[in-house]
């Protein structure tokens, strides 16, 4: 498809540099539109799933079965006034949502949806993602500071400390993955898991898998780690003074980050687009065993559902308990498991490390 567009552009007489710019722009649009739609419908899914767990029905008024609810929400937020509080730093106040949203979307540039379906083939894509997800905290801090509100400031401080701490546990969990795969290119990490369900990294890296996902929940400030917006304490935390689209942008960034963390978990620990039926005799030739983007979406949805499940059933941790969990439990476990993986690679354990040190 890219070739046909390229030949069309050549026909129309576009210079080469403009052609590649147009192609990249089109690719970005092709990623962003489904992503933003997914974010919108993720909010609906959240409300519906939590409603059913609450023995309620959830939104069902707008459109058939409430399916247009996200659109109604977006329209409502667009028409609302963005109130800038008295005494707020106007420039920073408006800049903070942008700073929060930009990394959340930019991180998607290196996510491979299938073997060759990736916007930017970056060799250090894991590092790029780590760098960008930690950028999001600046949006939070600046929002809390610029709002000139005590609640927002407290929320921002908590959020900053929490994100920075869990970044470390998350980073160590990712070190395990890169040791196992011998690469920090996400595509190669997925290809290293070929061979069926038992070859995926969730099994040898199980503690890291669990810690990665819990840290991911903490990174995105979601329940039970949502102290940054602890409703019963500091009302809504860092975005308490935001309204209209400025608030919506924070909201979109949070949900885009959640989907990102879920997709990364699927890519790194559950074999990405590889089929769970790979290598099982009876499915050998059917479409079920073939790698496809469908599997990636199914696995991502699984983690996205976990997010909602946590939110519906868990009370909120207290801030100091979160910090203790991160520093005193998760980081030691990850360090120990990295040593275990090192030994396993040297000893060429199981199907995962059979290639041994030479793999890396």
């Amino acid at each position: 498809m890219v070739e046909s567009i390229l030949s069309l552009l050549t026909l129309l007489g576009f210079p080469d540099w403009l052609q590649s710019v147009i192609i990249i722009m089109l690719k970005i649009v092709v990623i962003l539109i489904p992503l933003l739609t997914a974010v919108a419908y993720f909010t609906l899914a959240e409300r519906k799933v939590i409603a059913y767990m609450h023995v309620r029905i959830g939104p069902n008024r707008v459109g058939p079965r409430g399916l247009l609810q996200p659109i109604a929400d977006a329209v409502k937020l667009m028409f609302k006034e963005i109130i800038i509080p008295h005494g707020a730093d106007k420039a920073l106040f408006l800049f903070a949502p942008v700073l929060s949203m930009a990394p959340a979307l930019a991180a998607w540039a290196v996510i491979p949806f299938e073997a060759e379906m990736v916007l930017a083939q970056v060799d250090a894509s894991l590092l790029y993602i780590l760098a960008l997800t930690s950028m999001g905290v600046y949006g939070v801090i600046i929002a809390g500071w610029a709002s000139n509100s005590k609640y927002a400031l407290l929320g921002a401080m908590r959020s900053a400390a929490q994100i920075v701490s869990y970044e470390i546990a998350m980073g160590f969990a990712l070190v395990g993955v890169l040791m196992a795969a011998g690469s920090i290119n996400l595509g190669e990490i997925v290809m290293g898991q070929q061979g069926g369900f038992w070859h995926w990294y969730w099994l040898p890296l199980f503690p890291l898998f669990v810690i990665y996902f819990i840290s991911g929940v903490a990174e995105t400030n979601r329940a039970p780690f949502d102290v940054a917006e602890g409703e019963s304490e500091i009302v809504a935390g860092f975005h308490v003074d935001y309204s209209g689209m400025a608030f919506a942008v924070f909201f979109l960034a949070e949900y885009a980050n959640m989907i990102l963390v879920a997709m990364l978990a699927a890519l790194m620990f559950l074999g990405g687009w590889l089929s769970p039926f790979e290598g099982i005799g009876i499915f050998a030739d059917s479409w079920l065993a073939a790698p496809s983007i469908l599997w990636l979406l199914v696995k991502t949805s699984l983690f996205m559902f976990l997010y909602l499940w946590f939110r519906a059933t868990f009370p909120r941790y207290r801030y100091d308990q979160i910090m203790r969990l991160g520093w005193k439990v998760f980081i030691p476990i990850t360090i120990v498991w990295i040593l275990v993986i090192g030994v396993a690679i040297v000893a060429e354990v199981g199907p995962w490390f059979a290639a041994g040190v030479a793999h890396g």
Binding site: I50, H54, D226, E233, F314, R316, R318
Partner: protein
């Protein structure tokens, strides 16, 4: 190892006992919770002075909901006071009706018939279940666990259906009047009540699994908000809050009223006196109420007088006198002090509600040195209803 916070930056005490809080130093922050705040139960506010993440001093402010009911009653006939008394405590109105009716009966020299007493006890226990259901939702909600509130609201709704059947109203029943109750049980009520009780028990089982057995819930509540049992008398602490400290204070047993002396029950007590124990005592108390309702329905007479003979209530004059009627509501001891002067109006009605003692003085004491995040949970665990603080 217990968490030891660094309190070196905390304000010093001045010789006169007040805290030396210098807000301009930048070490402390004034933070208001309320009057409109999701973590506060109703319209009151707590003014917190925080240092870091911990509260160094708290001041409660009430008065956002003052309706002047006690004063209002002084210009109303005895029977006209009924629509007012049930609105004193919104979530548990029946206790006000019972206490006020009993006080009027005592001063007027009327005794309510035996069957009416059984129905009154039934209504009080049903109201207790309602109130506890609201508490459970609030306690979990204050920690961000929304699901419990939804489940218990459903359970409370079932009980409200039974109330509607029995009294014709859902929240403010005005069913207990001086001299007795307005009506007997409707047909088939006992069986439908039994179904409701079964449903409530099964919901409570779910609540127990999701809330009380939840590791995060335990982490947030065990050891937080400890009340020294020695404070009970000086602060006037009663009800489940006192029983969670290990003191078996229960007016239903200590000074039986209505038909409680014919029912078989033991006050529920706990040991640790923290938020978790208080929540647990209330859950077990709720189960006890379910059991009490079963006993009442089995033992109550099916026929008999419902209302004693009353004089014309529009010209009802009650001789000079004063009385204090107490009872055990879901939050603690509830009392009505009624003074009459021989006219057609009460001279003075004073309501002693447990929320007043729990939410004002006690809260200010307990709030010191706890995390901001625990303020809401602590406040809910004292089970206070602001409408009852300001009559």
């Amino acid at each position: 190892m217990a968490y030891q916070p660094d309190r070196s930056q905390y304000p010093q005490r001045r010789p006169d006992g007040t805290l030396d809080i210098d807000l301009t130093s930048g070490k402390y922050l004034k933070l208001w919770q309320g009057p409109q705040h999701p973590g506060i139960t109703g319209n009151m506010s707590v003014e917190l002075t925080v240092c870091g993440d911990e509260v160094v001093a708290g001041k409660t402010h009430v008065g956002y909901l003052h309706r002047g009911f006690e004063k209002l009653m002084e210009r109303r006939t005895f029977i006209q006071c009924f629509p007012i008394v049930c609105r004193i405590c919104v979530p548990e109105p029946d206790f006000n009706e019972y206490c006020y009716a009993a006080a009027v009966e005592e001063l007027a020299g009327i005794t309510s018939p035996e069957r009416a007493n059984w129905i009154r006890t039934l209504i009080l226990e049903m109201g207790r279940i309602n109130s506890y259901m609201m508490y459970l939702g609030g306690q979990a909600g204050s920690l961000g666990q929304g699901v419990i509130g939804q489940w218990t609201t459903y359970a409370r709704d079932l009980m409200l259906d039974r109330f509607e059947e029995l009294t014709g109203a859902r929240i403010y029943h005005m069913f207990i009047l001086p001299g007795g109750v307005r009506d007997g049980l409707p047909e088939g009520f006992k069986q439908r009540m039994e179904e409701t009780l079964k449903e409530i028990e099964s919901i409570l089982k779910d609540v127990y699994n999701v809330m009380y057995c939840n590791a995060v819930f335990k982490k947030r509540t065990v050891g937080i908000g400890y009340i020294d049992p020695q404070l009970l008398d000086s602060y006037g602490i009663t009800g489940p809050t006192a029983r969670a400290a290990g003191v078996a204070k229960d007016v239903r047993r200590d000074q039986p009223y209505l038909v409680y002396d014919q029912l078989d029950f033991e006050p529920i007590t706990g040991k640790d006196s923290d938020i978790y124990t208080r929540a647990d005592v209330r859950r077990r108390d709720l189960l006890m109420s379910v059991d009490l309702i079963r006993q009442i329905l089995a033992k109550m007479p099916d026929s008999g007088e419902l209302m004693a003979k009353l004089p014309n209530v529009l010209h009802w004059q009650i001789p000079r006198g004063e009385t204090y009627i107490r009872g055990e509501c879901s939050r603690g001891e509830y009392g009505y002090y009624l003074v009459t002067d021989g006219s057609g109006y009460p001279r003075r009605v004073n309501v002693r509600g447990p929320s007043y003692t729990h939410a004002v003085a006690l809260l200010e004491r307990l709030i010191v040195n706890i995390n901001i995040a625990d303020v809401a949970a602590l406040m809910v665990s004292l089970h206070t209803y602001p409408p009852e603080i300001e009559r």
